[in-house]
């Protein structure tokens, strides 16, 4: 794929684009190739291109699962092809799985990666490079006819051909662009660069004896990957098994043509041979199968974020247990929460094993680790106090956390290099994590406070007078607090005692959160003094962290001056939680400031 080359030669690109412009339409029926016979001449290449249905069938028939578990050296560490493919597609396409706008089918990342490598022409006119910022996208397609423009605006990704057009090249090379779009322009250029470099990254062959460098077995082959590959180890240590190296070369020679011809059977056979051969070229340096499998599991479970399922089920079971006071449900809930927690833990441990470092170095890792910490705190309280409600709160928090980690694209979810600014200082690192820990506890406290409000408003005074089901609620809440009379199965305590208990529970968590937040802010000030030369700069993030802290400061002090302090605290905890969310997410998204990386 030579988008950059095209960018550098807009005049050439113009002819190219004029000759080969193939216009996909949004209203095209599924299964039809995206050609428009009316205005443009399909070139031979375009004519040979598979239709969406054939392409889907080919993807269906090709089995890349074994190939995706091969080791590959990339960005300073050994990973599996699956990871590399996911990361690269994330960078190029904005998501890990390419989706055909015509069939709606989502493709395996490894398949798309190989497809981009072996059959790049197919993507020339397909939505491939993500341009997230709408104004830039609009500018990049403004020269197109209206219907076509609508299509690209809707899919949110542009084709390599479109990005190679002179108009787009002008914009991307920095001429003729508003300063406000610089960031978006750089991001798009990055995506294009990743697309151009896609082949060179596939360093599949482990180092030869005495060598250190992994090599890219296609190196030196021509555009169609048909030519005789030069010795893959040129300038490197001799391969341990020359025969295997020769076998690898012959497989690679055949793979490209077979792939482009859509011969799924032959491709599968070649991939099988490839998978068997690659580890044998230099077996002494090839990574252990177990580690590769571990990474595959890590990817397959979406970095273990699927643990939210166990958390959610556990939380639900606990809630049901409170309602029914069924010991069986109670135990089930506890076990499920334990499972969720183990998966959560595994996500952290496996990441540590895979990256070879302590995994709280970037936003994704911090988010996962910190919510893990809050869940741990909740579980400890649950067992220490024999109060299920802590477990339910922890489970709810864990569900939300892993769900967010699963669904949303948190920066640095890939295992790359640290954010340079975070790597420079231990204090900054501690600051960020202490603040995040307090945020997580605020989240935990929020769920307990919700519990408090539930009891307060739904359990009628005196144990449920009136027909609103107050009895049930009292029993429900009592069960959460572990205060069920084992003989009668009824609440062993009254409403006000229970509210007292809940108040104490929320205070335990919020006090810790309050202290950690104060500590985190002060550490931040200490770091800012060193790094920026002023301890407090009223940066929006700073200001909002202070406002969050003030809310809890007020919560602690109003307890001395109001009658229903539990209720006031619970409400302040709810308000504080939303302010914390704003501080954590909103400020970064909507306000400019120095904290944009954290």
């Amino acid at each position: 794929m030579t988008v950059l080359l095209v960018l550098a030669a807009p005049a050439f690109a113009q002819e190219d684009a004029d000759a080969r412009l193939v216009k996909p339409r949004a209203d095209m029926p599924a299964g039809q190739p995206p050609t428009d016979s009316g205005t443009s001449m399909p070139t031979p290449q375009a004519a040979e291109t598979l239709g969406p249905a054939e392409h889907a069938a080919f993807a269906e028939a090709v089995d890349v699962s074994a190939f995706s578990k091969l080791a590959v050296f990339d960005a300073g560490r050994v990973k599996i092809v699956d990871t590399l493919a996911r990361e690269q597609l994330q960078r190029i396409y904005g998501k890990e799985r390419w989706r055909s706008p015509w069939t709606g089918r989502k493709y395996d990342p490894t398949f798309t990666y190989l497809d981009l490598l072996l059959h790049p022409e197919y993507y020339d006119d397909k939505p491939l490079v993500h341009v997230d910022v709408l104004p830039l996208r609009r500018r990049l397609v403004e020269h197109l006819p209206e219907g076509e423009r609508e299509f690209w605006l809707k899919v949110g990704r542009l084709s390599p051909q479109l990005l190679g057009s002179p108009q787009a090249a002008n914009l991307l090379m920095g001429r003729d662009i508003e300063p406000g779009l610089f960031g978006a322009q750089q991001a798009t250029l990055q995506a294009v660069m990743h697309l151009d470099a896609i082949g060179g990254r596939l360093r599949l062959v482990s180092p030869g004896p005495g060598g250190e460098k992994w090599t890219y077995p296609w190196a030196g082959m021509d555009h169609d990957h048909t030519g005789e590959p030069p010795d893959a180890h040129a300038g490197e240590a001799e391969p341990a098994d020359a025969e295997a190296a020769a076998e690898l070369r012959s497989i690679l020679r055949e793979l490209g043509p077979a792939w482009r011809a859509g011969e799924a059977g032959e491709v599968n056979e070649l991939l099988d041979r490839l998978v068997a051969t690659v580890p044998t070229v230099n077996p002494q340096s090839y990574p252990a199968r177990s580690k590769l499998t571990l990474e595959w599991i890590y990817n397959f479970t979406h970095r273990f974020t699927l643990g939210y399922l166990a958390y959610a089920a556990g939380t639900l079971a606990l809630l049901l247990a409170f309602a029914t006071t069924s010991k069986w449900l109670f135990r089930t809930g506890g076990v499920l929460l334990g499972v969720g927690f183990l998966v959560h833990t595994a996500g952290i441990v496996v990441r540590a094993v895979l990256t070879g470092r302590w995994p709280i170095h970037n936003q994704f890792e911090s988010f996962v680790a910190i919510t893990w910490f809050a869940v741990l705190v909740g579980l400890i309280f649950m067992f220490a106090r024999r109060q299920g409600l802590f477990g339910a709160a922890a489970g709810a928090l864990g569900t939300c956390a892993l769900l967010v980690a699963n669904m949303m694209d948190i920066p640095s979810s890939g295992m790359g290099r640290d954010m340079p600014i975070l790597a420079t200082s231990q204090i900054l690192y501690v600051h960020v994590n202490v603040v995040l820990a307090s945020y997580a506890l605020i989240g935990l406290g929020f769920f307990i406070s919700l519990w408090y409000l539930l009891v307060h408003y739904f359990a009628g005074p005196g144990g449920g007078a009136g027909g609103g089901g107050g009895d049930g609620v009292v029993r429900f809440a009592a069960a959460g607090l572990g205060q069920i009379d084992s003989d009668t199965g009824e609440a062993a305590t009254d409403r006000s005692a229970m509210l007292n208990g809940l108040d104490r529970a929320q205070m335990v968590v919020l006090q810790l959160a309050f202290w950690l937040l104060g500590l985190g802010i002060l550490l931040g000030a200490y770091w800012a003094d060193h790094a920026w030369g002023r301890w407090w700069g009223w940066d929006p993030k700073e200001t909002w962290a202070l406002i969050t802290w003030i809310i809890y400061l007020i919560a602690i002090h109003t307890r001395f001056s109001v009658r229903r302090r539990g209720l006031v605290t619970a409400w302040l905890s709810v308000i504080g939680f939303f302010i914390m969310l704003w501080t954590y997410w909103g400020v970064n998204l909507l306000l400019a400031g120095l904290h944009s990386y954290a």
């Binding site: 009136g466 202290w515 002060l522 030369g533 109003t558 001056s561 400020v587």
Partner: protein
Amino acid sequence: MSAKYRRVKQADLDLPAPLRWLTRAFSSITLAVILLLLVALWGLLGTIPLRMLAIGGLDAAVVFAAAGVAAGLIYLLTRGGISVVRGIAAGLLLAGATVAAVRGVMAVHDRAVASSWLQEHASTVIYQLPAFEMTMTEYYGWWPMDLLLLLFVVNMVWATIRRIEFSFVNIGVLSVHGGIVLLAIGAMVYGRFKVEGDTVIHRRDLGGGFVSSFYGTAEPAIYLATSRGEKMIPVPDLPRYNDYAPGELDIRLHERQNAGSVLGENLRVTIPGFYAYAEPVSAWRPAAETDPQASPAIRLAMERQQTGEAAEFVLAADRPAERVLENRLWSIQYLVDPGEKRLKELLTPVPGGGHGLIVEVPGEDFREVYAIEPGQTIEVGDTGYALEIEDIGPYPIPFVSEGYQDARDTRAVVKVEGPGKTFTRMAMNRYPERSQDFSGSGGGPAPMMGPMGERSDPDPAIRLVYLDGSQMQYYLVGESPEDEQLDLIVRLGGQSRPMHRQLPDDGFPVPTGGQGLVMLRIAEHWPAAKQVMEPRPVPEAERDSRAEGQYGESLLPVDVELDRPADAGGPWRERVWLHFMRYPMPSMASGNHRPRTVELPDGRTLRLTFSRERHALPFAMGLEDFEMQSYEGSDIPRDFVATLLIGDLSESGVMRQMPDRHVISMNHPLMYEAANAPLGLQRVKISQVEWDPPRRDDPQAEAKNADGRFINQQRYTVVGIGNNVGISIIWAGGGLALAGIPWAFYLKPLLVRRRKRTSQEPPAGREDSADADAPAASAEPAGMQS
């Protein structure tokens, strides 16, 4: 209520009324909560742009209205004792009311979203409004905020003294409160003595000297320099974020800082306005006819009916370079009173079309018009002159002669052989008065010798006027500057004769390249106009938000006025537009960002620089070496390392000893302690903050010398200068507060519980609250109401 507070309150009863209320108020927690909420509100207003604030507020109102219904319904349903029918009726009523409320708010919301004022202020924070014009630091350091914090501290101290038992168990809460007081004191000291800024130091091996001053981060200043010296005038009252047309401000620099010592008595320098984010454009504006720079001018409007395209051009008759509008096909000129002779020339037809040459030999009363082409020779009647056309075409460079700068013309190069003389005549088309003769062979040592020979004014014995036939020529001719009814002379070339008629009101057509005709008409006529620099505010969408409030993109008009007696010409005035310079040094000038020099009519010069306030340092720094360290195998910068030579200065500004060598890099600043430094500058932090970045437009930006060093990068460093007076008080306070919290939260309840177990009596200062886990429980478990 603590036993202590009960005792104290009892004693309060003896106080007179206002004093009693005051002490009650400052003992209350309610006041603290209100003050804290106000601080939070201050922060909210200071961080969220107005548009987001308005829309967010309205959205919140919608949510509250909806939540109100939900709460109401829940209340009705859980209250009990209400019949189903009534419940449903009440629910419907509530729902209806809420829908109405939500729709009302949504309508306001929509109007707010569409409001142009809010659109304009999509990224404006409250302190940027014209009424404030503050930096963020100024906003948070403004007196209302200071007052809030002061009241809070007083409140906290007073409440602590009056309510909290000074006992062992309360060490936690006391240290938290004490710590916060300490922190507040530290912050006050810090704010009082804080300096923050930066300076630039050039490498000594490239000629850089020692630097003993720095520039405050956000403190604008104007530097005035005359032969009497330089004066820095700080202008803290200069706006930052909003535009003020000239006349809306009146900042008199000459009345400040003893500026007279540099300016003298009769020179006034004022700032009449300010543009926060603008670019300079030049525009023609009406002027006094006596103004030497004024010229009669017309504004031509060009409209293409089919496409609606429009363009405007101004032609100024007295400015040779400005009186012409031309393209490949045609040329349009605006002439005022060109004289009978010139008019006649312009109306002279060329036989056969093409280029023409009018030849006049006044002595012989000879006049003839020839169609010419290069290489042609002409016998000029029987005057004895013979001409050879050597070349026809554009004069290769714009004129540089006084008054004709930047004008372009075409010419015929004619070799003239006449009675007893031979020379080459350069005959001009548009500006025949600029025609010249060249004699000799060229290249010689004579002073007027150019490549074509010795230059001289045209020989009056023979007059040659070149008429360019390569373009269609349109002339708009006025009899006087005031003449609004212009004549139109058109020379289309070819077989058609020149046309002369009155210019129609609806204009005249000119051809366009292959796309038919376009109409040109005179949109405006000024008897006298001149070109002035005007600011064009950059639209919000095109702004780089990082530059806002930083002056980097601002335009500052400065009026320089000289009082002169009437016999010396009367008062004199000039307006200059200044661009901001980060450092007020001519060596750091780039593009428009440079000092402006005003030539005063009395012969003096005044140099004006718009930059930042300079502060003296008690030491001097030189840059011995400056290097970028990159990530291995790449040019991506990892760190910048500056080797500084630093030596203390004496009172008279002389270095007292050999400077010491210090190395600083990113995140590794130097704390420098200078001897005999004034308060606040005893300990100065010097940090590596910036470097000279490669200039994108410089093709040599990445060039390296033989040692592998960049030639055009890392020539100078920018170091940050800061102090931290009182920072240790802040840390002590913060540390104390944080250490006290666990005591109050976790240790104290244990202590209280143990004491309770060992003693039957309730512990001192404690009411019979069952809540042992409550923080600082003995301070005040119950209400404030008394």
